[in-house]
């Protein structure tokens, strides 16, 4: 089932040096590999080194340590050859907003040296795929954020890439627009496109990724399938309790021992237990009356909290 290795990183690191400032390590020696046909994610908060890693994979940022091979090639020596086989959806859309929707795909296709009839045929197909066919003759400027994102995705597919790289594909989109993007990405996955994405949304990572790495401060904190990570680093359920803020610390002390682990967040307590309802009964049994109580499944957010002691989105 696992396909050939398309990307292989060993001890990959990136340090930025700026005159008059101490060097800044964005990526501090990471190992990972991506196989053909899988959806691979980098989950982590802003500043974790995800985008820098993506730029290195996109052959637009030379690494300063370790090794990186893409299709078995060296990204800095064979950048153009590798990029010819990649699709990139950057964090910022970088569309030509004054041009027509259709022309955006056209100028991009020409960068890949595609013949005009091929570009025309693919443009039609791709605009249909991202549900923008009716806007083909419109300018980009008035499109909504979600439409621009979808157009960027269509544009990145013009060369029929073997790997599609998406940096924060749904950041800044409203929930409805996010779901449309997810749906399209899911279809690409179904068709066997290898996808690599970064996100700081745990639901995005859970929904789309076959396998992911949790990144924090330039390092990989954990790696695995979403459900594996949850099994390894969290309990099955989580009990979320809210108390009046001044009583929270006391409540945490009183609840100690009920769950495997208790996390005190600024606004709530998290009790990690395999049976959330039983934990809630035990809490009440100790005379605690939370304002609200919620039992839910563990998510990647909890994995991240366990691994780093911090939440994903601050």
């Amino acid at each position: 089932m696992p396909g050939e290795v398309l990307i292989e990183a060993r001890e990959l690191s990136k340090q930025f040096t700026k005159k008059g400032a101490p060097p800044f390590t964005a990526v501090a020696g990471v190992d990972f590999e991506v196989r053909r046909g899988e959806v691979f994610g980098f989950l982590g908060p802003n500043g974790a080194g995800k985008s820098t890693t993506m730029r290195m994979i996109g052959c637009v940022s030379p690494s300063t340590g370790g090794s990186l091979r893409i299709f078995g090639l060296d990204p800095m020596a064979d950048g153009p050859a590798i990029r010819a086989r990649l699709g990139v959806v950057p964090q910022e859309d970088t569309l030509d907003t004054e041009m027509l929707v259709r022309d955006n795909l056209h100028v991009y296709g020409r960068y890949f040296g595609l013949p005009r009839p091929v570009i025309r045929e693919r443009t039609e197909r791709l605009l249909e795929f991202v549900q923008l066919s009716d806007r083909a003759g419109d300018k980009v400027e008035p499109l909504s954020g979600g439409m621009k994102r979808r157009l960027t995705i269509a544009r990145s597919l013009i060369n029929e890439p073997e790997i599609l790289i998406l940096d924060e594909p749904t950041t800044g989109l409203d929930p409805q627009a996010r779901h449309v993007v997810w749906d399209r990405l899911y279809r690409l996955k179904q068709q066997g496109t290898t996808l690599i994405l970064t996100t700081h949304y745990m639901d995005e990572a859970e929904q789309l990724c076959d396998r992911l790495v949790v990144m924090d401060k330039g390092r990989i904190a954990a790696e695995g399938a979403p459900h594996e990570l949850i099994e390894s680093y969290s309990t099955r359920e989580v009990l979320e309790l809210r108390f009046p803020l001044d009583e929270q610390e006391q409540a945490a002390e009183k609840a100690a021992g009920i769950a495997e682990r208790v996390e005190v967040l600024p606004d709530r307590l998290l009790l990690y237990a395999d049976d959330g309802d039983a934990a809630l009964q035990a809490v009440r049994g100790r005379g605690l009356e939370p304002i609200t109580a919620l039992v839910r499944r563990s998510t990647l957010e909890d994995v991240f909290l366990t691994l780093t002691g911090r939440t994903l989105v601050d």
Binding site: F16, R55, G58, V60, S61, P62, F71, M76, G79, P80, A81, R83, A84, R85, L86, G87, V88, P90, E92, D93, T94, L95, D96, T97, E98, M99, D103, H106, V107, Y108, R110, Y111, F112, G113, L114, V118, E121, R122, R125, L126, E128, F129, S156, L157, N159, E160, P161, E162, L164, L188, Q191, G192, T193
Partner: protein, 279 residues
Amino acid sequence: MTAIDSPNAAVPAAHSIDAPIPGALRLSYRQFRYWVTYTRRTWRGGLLSAILGPALYLTAMGIGLGTLVDRGSGLPGGVRYLDFVAPGVLAANGMQNAFGLSTYSVLGSVKWFGNYWAAVNTPQRPEDVVTGHAALSLVWISGVTGIFFAFMAGFGTLHSPLGILAWPASVLTGAAFMLPIMSYVITLDSDQPLNTLFRFVMTPLFLFSGTFFPWQQLPGWAHPIAYATPLWHGVELCRSLTLGTATWAGSLVHVAYLLAFALGGYAVARITYRRRLYR
């Protein structure tokens, strides 16, 4: 391979594994084509000012101011003021357009529109980006200086068959400014320094490089400064060509000086573009 609901998946991928990556010339040409498409929606305004500008300049300066100058003590050698000022403004026109094309459009490409970033996510390299963008700018400069040159000729300011060479000389003058400025602007993060560039570099050059009055009128200490500016060389070259006073030696020095700026700027731009776009 990404096949999007493709009924006829016979479309070849951009490059199969063995397909060679095209050479620098072809890649730069693709970037040039991008700018052709881009310019298609902006050329009208540019062309209008390219036509109106010279017509107004030549009428106001050459005929209005020129009548006063020629009736007064006149220029040394009895040269008609219009004949004197027109080739100067031609060279300055090359420079001004170079400033316009190498500042906001370069910074915008990396800062506001992101088209440079989009380009380097394809087989384009920073070197192709700078070459293709510069090539389109040179074509544009050739066009607007060509229009000015046609007006000049219409006003009867050409006094030598070699005068036609003043046109390419003004394009070269533009290149001598455009490429070094591109190499600088790509390093910027805000447009603040651009105002300084226009106010304290372009405007003084325009006024004091012998465009409007003989540079010999400047105080002696200022002469070396004039010689050092590419615009002075451009103005002198264009003027000597249209007045028919050009010498081989002088012209070669001017051309060499301008070429050095253009090629030096290009070499530096290839480095600074790479530094910015491959971070």
